[in-house]
Symmetry: C2
Subunit: 394 residues, 2 copies
């Protein structure tokens, strides 16, 4: 057994989160794609079966009240809240991330008011955020300006209405400085929208602590909610009264069953709801969130950094010099929970890795992405993944 394999054994033995692996359905595959689709929590299948067979099949329409369907968006929002550092009553679950980016960004521009007609968007963003930001700008009479996150402070001005930023870059795994960038946006009198897709569930976000205005995120990566599970929208409590949604569906009405022709927005986070929530996906997510019971996100962050450090160490030891180049920043303060390696023929390499039981993903044109989900990835997995990568490249 190599020295690194022995180290991995010791690290696993000392890992407080190790037992959490049993809360997931896993096999011999080393699954390093939880940053794209989280593994299945063991509690989910039984819960979904109950939702389908009993709640829908037997109670039918009564379940909107008796099974808590109607209040699921805000109830599950409150379950996500502590994972992103938010007090209750500020998050609703529903719709896709793209739709929530639209709500948040239009909402932010409307808060900024007259005279502010520029939206800044992370130029390295996941594409959908940029496309939706373009539409939000067009529909609010704003100009859209793509800027690298580090350049945002210098680009802010008294015409800036809103800034859309990613907490962690989907491609490189770079973690941006949420407290400093939020403070800079506020100093310019603008509003910030953070996309938490690649950070929530992997590291502390501290929405309330850092005074973030609005945030969105998906739930199918580190939150393990299942394929296409609904996204969420955070609106800071003191801004909720001014949140003017571009998608004022009946679910966000102050009295949804009054069936009134005039729209009157509900108070609080409910104002971010739109139409009828997709209950099957939503209640699968609610069950999936139970794996977080008793897990402080700080412990997840500590293990995540240990995993990515160890992976980089194993790659350096096993992979011949010059075959891969790490795109992810080495300083902890700039690293999310994934490692991106540039590599010639990355598409083909990933195919062979998957065949050998190491699942990461490929991002065109030449990036291998490996996500490290501390709830179910261990150090021995990491060592083996680096070893198989070296063999594949060798």
């Amino acid at each position: 057994m190599s020295e690194l394999a022995m180290r991995a054994e010791k690290l696993d033995a000392a890992d407080d989160l190790r037992g959490k692996r049993d809360a997931f359905v896993l096999d011999d595959v080393i699954y390093l794609d939880g940053n794209s689709l989280g593994a299945l929590p063991a509690v989910v299948p039984g819960r979904v079966e109950d939702v389908v067979r009993r709640q829908w099949g037997e109670l039918r329409i009564r379940s909107w009240e008796e099974s808590g369907w109607w209040t699921a968006p805000e109830r599950i929002g409150d379950r996500i809240a502590p994972l992103v550092g938010a007090a209750p009553g500020q998050i609703v679950v529903g719709d896709s991330t793209s739709v929530n980016v639209f709500k948040a960004l239009v909402g932010a521009v409307r808060m900024a008011g007259e005279g502010r007609d520029e939206i800044l968007v992370d130029a390295t963003t996941f594409p959908t955020d940029g496309y939706i930001a373009q539409s939000a700008a067009r529909m609010t009479g704003c100009t859209l300006r793509p800027v690298a996150p580090a350049q945002v402070p210098g680009a802010l001005g008294d015409r800036t209405a809103a800034v859309l930023l990613n907490h962690v870059d989907y491609r490189t795994g770079r973690l941006h400085d949420l407290p400093a960038l939020t403070a800079a946006v506020h100093a310019a009198g603008a509003y910030v929208v953070w996309d938490l897709c690649h950070s929530a569930g992997a590291l502390p976000v501290g929405l309330d602590e850092h005074g973030v205005d609005l945030a969105v995120g998906c739930t199918y990566k580190y939150l393990n909610g299942g394929p296409g599970s609904p996204a969420y929208l955070y609106v800071r409590r003191d801004l909720q009264g001014r949140f003017d949604s571009p998608l004022p569906g009946w679910n966000s009405h102050a009295e949804p069953f009054g069936m009134r022709s005039g729209y009157e927005p509900a108070p609080g986070a409910l104002r971010g709801r739109v139409g009828t929530p997709d209950i099957l996906s939503m209640l699968a997510l609610e069950a999936a969130l139970e794996v977080w019971d008793g897990v402080p996100v700080e412990a997840v962050r500590a293990k995540s950094l240990a995993l990515t450090d160890f992976f980089l160490e194993c790659v350096a030891a096993y992979v011949p010099e010059g075959r891969v180049e790490c795109l992810t920043p080495v300083p902890h303060a700039e690293r999310g929970s994934q490692i991106a390696l540039r590599c010639d023929g990355a598409g083909d390499v990933m195919k062979r890795l998957v065949e050998r039981g190491v699942v990461g993903d490929f991002r065109a044109p030449d990036v291998l992405r490996f996500g490290f989900t501390p709830l179910y990835v261990g150090f021995a997995d990491v060592e083996r993944a680096a070893r198989v990568l070296a063999q594949t490249l060798g």
Copy 2:
């Protein structure tokens, strides 16, 4: 046995759709609320279990390709298409009805182009359509004008950009004249968006035949897709190239995995997609649609009218004169698949009906709604429901 009960037995014996009841999970309750939440098709629980345990739990990320997750929105759209009279390639499934109303209405206004700045909306519409229409008008610089559907032809003009109409009124069950109203809107040079929530799966719609421009609908009523199952968007083939969505998420990009910063819309119906589809809800819907195999929607319509006719006859025979007033039009050409009865103390009456095993619903302030879903409601159910109603009122 009363004469009406005997008639019911004969009608059930002669009913070609009678066997379809076995395709659903039902009990002794007479479920007349399928116009709100369709009953559970028997095929759904097993399919959902496979999606959760095998597709998500075992194949994980590979399912986006291997289990056909990625193409589900357009594949399921094509499954709905024949039920609403559409050729393939014009419908995508995803998002809520409210979100799809927003896409369709903004898309319609953009097709109408410069100089047309008025949106007409059904003044009796389900509230969410009106709220969303107000937002679409505000964000496209249009004026919103609520008009009763019958007054639409007279309200059209050369400033009309788009008209949003409900095929069947959610409250009264009135069926509007889709062919005539569509033709009137077209004669004025405007575009029409039809909301099919209360008609799809209950009667022939004929989208292609009548040249409808855009349409939306939910799938959890007569299509039995489950609570909050995703809605759909129809864009007529020859308009797809001009459909300019206000929600251009990465799923509607011509090359979604190219991860390009510039947006280039996909050709065809795909252009109506937005973000990552909610797979659990979507594949439950796909399974639910199998109950339609071999069922012509014309046969469903014939039985639906026979059911509502028979219900009105039974109510007239059993319920004391003056206790209820029918709000649903008597002529078949103006009737959907529900009967709305105005009744003093309707909320309390519905509570007692439910206790006695007859499930309809109550709409404030004084309406009892009964939905008749021909795939699983029989004539004996109808007779019993009217009898229990009479006892409850007696």
